[in-house]
């Protein structure tokens, strides 16, 4: 229907309605008068005749109402009427309206925000065609859950399977320098087989993706650019395809550009890449045990995950049987890509969703309570309307219309609040899984608060509406004049609502309390180094200009010297794997004289390369022996440092200094290294993770099994706030090598903060919702008690007149309020005991049923309830008994 025809329809409807009204009036008047005239003809006096005629006709207004129903003018008319009337009522009670709308807006806003995030991450399909057919293929081996693939294993699976439409492998290639326009930059590259893009169904924005023949050496110097790089580094040049760019000073021909929505990543596992080069796979048996490939596949049409799993199981079993020594117990596990991407986020989002659902329930309860209080004040109006012929259903509809109206206004405000909330949420950059997911309020998300508000409007409107119309007409007419004795059932309902509010907020408070307690415990954890006054920045040396560790270490030595000369710098060191960043390496090792010669069960230690001053710069204490010096270089006796955990676990009461260890079994060809000192433990993997055993090697000695000196993190200790040093440091590095990408410096405090940002975020958010719940519940209790006091004013007056003291009145009211709160708190404690275990994974050294948190939060809630009760109770005490007695 067009707008115009709709307008015409409505006009016609309105005309029809007014015509029907006037005709109905005239017709019924005619009937009554005609009958009266007949009566007059039979000798009845005119006045009496009219009276009898009306009486015998029955209820004129009721008759009209039924007639209107019969010709269906009522429906639209009533809705319009209800709406108009509702708006008028709301306008006339600005205080009530404001409180109710704000309460609902908070509840609906929180729900909208969380729902938008869930919609963007959990519900919206991935930006690939038929994304549900895409699976991640994991290799498993006895003892290792999810592992990568070796090239021969991948090629065998690719050739032998009958369930995949296509299967692609991908990996990481970091290029130290990338020369496009302007200064060289560091880029994060990905490598992929041609089929990788086929699995994802990518349509390039320009050019093409890889051809199968480009997976061979010699043909592999081609590159597909990500859309961001294309924009930022090449100004979105439409003629980029066919041009040559340099990666680590080797030429690559651009063959294509990916579309903007392509942002392939798997949280905590595979970050988005800037550009892609072909993955060259050697079909060499010596590589069978070298697992470094990631694999994704697209299932053939109408192939169930289960049957695909069965097929790869068969292949895996065959391979495991064929190569029992290299890949013992080899298996494969298929996991839907969507599952992998949302993985950990899902649980947390559902917890948040539960929390905001609680908040909304509390908000609804509050508004229902407000409505109930108002409904009893409106009892007179309702009774009058019923007496004038309004049916019960009609009045319930009127009241529900009002509630829905309230909820809709609340929803509009709530969506605005939600949008602000999402902005804040995105600004906090919380969890890895949000990578690439654009959180917006789209039509789905908009429909959510709409439906929510309609439901909530009906939910909190229906109970009070039925409540206030349930009393029989005669009884309510009798009651209408008085306010002191309202229906007992209404009182019970209000109390029930207050109790459930308290119980719901109790659960939320305890949940938030547990997270806060964990977080505080986490903040108390010493990371093992002094986070203050340290600036850190990574340096990556391109292989083409620094091909060996000798040249690399020369650069580092010169860089450290240059930085050390800056004013305010007290120590400069460097390490390859910086704590709290997730970088790590680990190897098995043996201790001279105590390790058995067989290689199968070696202890594994974290191993890191450091410069001599690293420990001083970080403030890691040297517990025994000596630190490294510049003399610990190739040619000098090989030395290592160990941490306290290693000393404690493997040397117990023996002095480790002077003992020797080597990587691999005692029989391996590597050299024995002398332990020269013990340093303090560092929480390398996160504040919540116990230190592992660690071995440090001097950066100039090649003493570890793997000595990748091309990448080091500098740590610079200053005698004050270090952030001012950043520019000077960048200039020093630039002076040393113009070709290096500029280092991005950040304080160690920032590294520390970002390592707990996800936890901080969770705690903050749940805390916020719990605070919201507490506020709403307080308002709720306050409302119930104030209303109860107002209702009992007469009773209180009587008591006062009969000699009751202030304390007695105060006690009476406090007892009522606290009684409600106590029941709510007890139910809430029970509820929390059952539900908080969903938080277990997010807690640190706090049990999900932590008694102090339960008791403390219960106490807080009771105190708040006491306060909310005390205010109206004071009012009751100060009432003048004479006024109270007259109070109606």
């Amino acid at each position: 229907m067009t707008l115009w025809s709709r307008v015409r329809f409505w006009c016609a409807e309105i005309l029809r309605r007014s015509r029907i009204e006037s005709e109905m009036d005239a017709e019924l008047r005619f009937h009554i008068e005609a009958y009266a005239e007949d009566l007059v003809r039979r000798g009845v006096p005119r006045q009496e005749a009219l009276r009898r005629s009306r009486l015998e006709f029955g209820g004129i207004e009721q008759t009209k109402e039924i007639c209107r129903d019969a010709v269906r003018v009522n429906w639209i008319e009533n809705s319009a009427q209800d709406l108009r009337y509702g708006l008028r009522v709301l306008r006339k009670n600005p205080g009530f309206t404001a409180v109710a709308v704000l309460t609902l807006a908070l509840g609906i806003g929180a729900n909208t925000a969380i729902f938008s995030i869930m919609n963007a991450t959990l519900f919206r399909p991935l930006p690939y065609p038929n994304a549900n057919e895409i699976v991640v293929v994991w290799g498993t081996q006895s003892g290792v859950g999810a592992n990568r693939f070796s090239a021969p294993n991948f090629l065998d699976v690719k050739d032998q399977n009958i369930v995949f439409e296509s299967v692609g492998a991908f990996g990481l290639v970091d290029f130290s320098t990338f020369t496009g326009l302007g200064r060289p930059e560091h880029v994060q590259g990905g490598s992929a087989t041609a089929d990788f893009f086929r699995v994802l169904g990518v349509e390039p924005a320009l050019g093409r993706t890889f051809l199968p023949e480009e997976e061979r050496l010699g043909r592999d110097h081609v590159v597909v650019l990500g859309n961001n790089v294309w924009h930022q580094r090449f100004g979105a040049d439409p003629n980029i395809v066919g041009q040559t760019i340099h990666l680590d000073s080797e030429p690559y021909i651009v063959v294509g550009v990916l579309p903007p929505q392509f942002q392939f990543s798997i949280s905590d596992y595979y970050r988005p890449r800037d550009l892609w080069i072909p993955l060259v796979l050697p079909r060499s048996e010596s590589q069978r045990g070298n697992n470094y490939l990631n694999v994704i596949a697209r299932l053939k049409l109408r192939t169930a995950l289960r049957s695909a799993q069965a097929d790869v199981d068969t292949i895996a079993a065959r391979l495991a049987a064929e190569y029992p020594k290299v890949i013992p117990g080899f298996g494969m596990k298929l996991a839907p890509l969507h599952e992998q991407i949302v993985g950990e986020m899902r649980a947390f989002l559902w917890i948040l969703f539960g929390a905001v659902a609680f908040v909304l329930l509390i908000a609804c309860t509050n508004v229902a309570n407000l409505q109930l209080a108002r409904a009893s004040a409106r009892q007179k109006e309702i009774v009058l309307r019923r007496a004038l012929g309004a049916g019960r259903g009609r009045i319930v509809r009127q009241l529900v219309t009002e509630s829905v109206l309230l909820a809709l206004i609340g929803a509009v405000l709530g969506v605005i609040l939600g949008a602000v909330g999402i902005k804040l949420f995105a600004g906090l950059k919380p969890v890895g899984a949000l990578h690439g997911a654009v959180v917006t309020i789209d039509s789905t998300v908009f429909g959510f608060p709409l439906i929510l508000s309609l439901l909530t409007g009906i939910l909190f409107g229906l109970a009070p509406a039925f409540q206030s119309t349930s009393i029989g007409l005669g009884e309510s007419l009798k009651q209408a004049g008085r306010t002191s004795a309202s229906a007992a059932s209404g009182r019970h309902l209000r109390k029930l609502l207050a109790v459930s509010e308290v119980a719901l907020s109790m659960v939320l408070l305890i949940g938030a309390g547990l997270l806060v307690r964990s977080f505080v415990k986490l903040l108390d954890v010493k990371p093992g180094f002094d986070t203050r006054n340290i600036l850190t920045f990574p340096i990556e040396l391109p292989k083409y200009s620094y091909p060996d560790s000798a040249r690399q270490s020369v650069f580092y030595a010169r860089a450290m010297e240059a930085v050390r000369g800056l004013p305010g710098v007290t120590a400069v060191g460097a390490i390859n794997d910086l704590p709290l960043t997730g970088d790590s390496d680990a190897d098995g090792f043996s201790i001279e004289g105590s390790s058995p010669p067989d290689a199968t069960n070696l202890p594994s230690a974290q191993d890191r390369l450091v410069t001599p001053d690293y420990f001083r710069a970080m403030g890691i204490p040297l517990v025994a022996g000596r630190a490294f010096t510049e003399a610990d270089r190739i040619g000098a006796p090989p030395v290592v440092l160990i941490n306290q955990s290693l000393a404690r676990h493997l040397f117990a009461d023996k002095d480790p200094i002077g003992q020797r260890l080597k990587f691999g079994p005692p029989t391996s060809s590597t050299s024995w290294k002398t332990i020269v000192g013990v340093v303090g433990d560092v929480r390398h993997f996160g504040l919540n993770i116990q230190p592992s055993i660690e071995i440090y090697g001097p950066y100039q000695q090649d003493s570890l099994p793997y000595n990748p000196l091309n990448y080091m993190n500098f740590v610079v200790r200053a005698d004050g706030d270090p952030s001012g040093l950043a520019n000077a440091i960048v200039r020093q590095i630039e002076d040393l090598d113009k070709e290096l990408p500029l280092p991005a410096a950040r304080t160690m405090e920032a590294v520390y903060a970002s390592s707990i940002s996800a936890r901080r975020f969770n705690t903050l958010l749940l805390g916020l919702f719990a605070g919201l719940a507490l506020t709403l519940a307080t308002v709720g209790i306050y409302g119930v008690i104030s209303y109860s006091v107002a209702r009992q004013t007469h009773d209180i007056g009587v008591r006062r007149a009969l000699g009751a003291g202030h304390m007695e009145i105060l006690q009476l009211i406090l007892r009522e309020g606290l009684g409600l709160a106590l029941i709510g708190v007890l139910i809430g404690l029970g509820g929390a005991f059952v539900t908080t275990r969903v938080l277990s994974a997010m807690l640190y050294e706090v049990a999900a049923t932590d008694a102090p948190t339960f008791l403390g939060m219960g106490l807080i809630l009771l105190l708040v309830a006491l306060l909310a009760t005390y205010v109206p109770a004071r009012r009751a005490v100060t009432v003048d008994p004479m006024v109270a007695l007259r109070y109606e």
Binding site: F30, Y35, T63
Partner: protein, 113 residues
């Protein structure tokens, strides 16, 4: 006068259709006509007449127009439509069949079972 019978559920519509089938009538006239034909043996609540009239008109079985009453007053007259006439016929047949069946059942003596 015999005691008045209460109207059976659903029969008022049929009576109205019958009443207006004999010629256009206003609401009050319909009431009088039914009372006259039934020789005052049926009691009709006056108020209940109008919702029935509105319903029948809404269903298209009767139609109305404003005219002048005997005492020169404006009144709304109802007349039967073609659809209403068919409706009255089928209702009448249904009623007669039903009445026969019910009467037959009530007449039944123990020997006939």
């Amino acid at each position: 006068m015999d005691k008045q019978l209460d109207l059976l559920q659903g029969t008022l519509d049929m009576l109205i259709l019958k009443a207006v089938s004999l010629g256009p009538l206003h609401g009050y006239g319909i009431l009088l006509r039914i009372q006259q034909i039934s020789k005052d043996r049926l009691g009709i609540q006056q108020g209940s007449l109008y919702p029935a009239l509105y319903r029948l008109e809404h269903q298209g079985w009767i139609t109305s127009e404003w005219g002048e009453s005997d005492n020169k007053r404006k009144a709304k007259y109802y007349r039967l439509t073609a659809a209403g006439r068919r409706r009255l016929q089928s209702e009448t047949e249904k009623w007669n069949r039903m009445a026969d069946v019910i009467a037959g059942i009530l007449r039944t003596t123990p020997e006939e079972v």
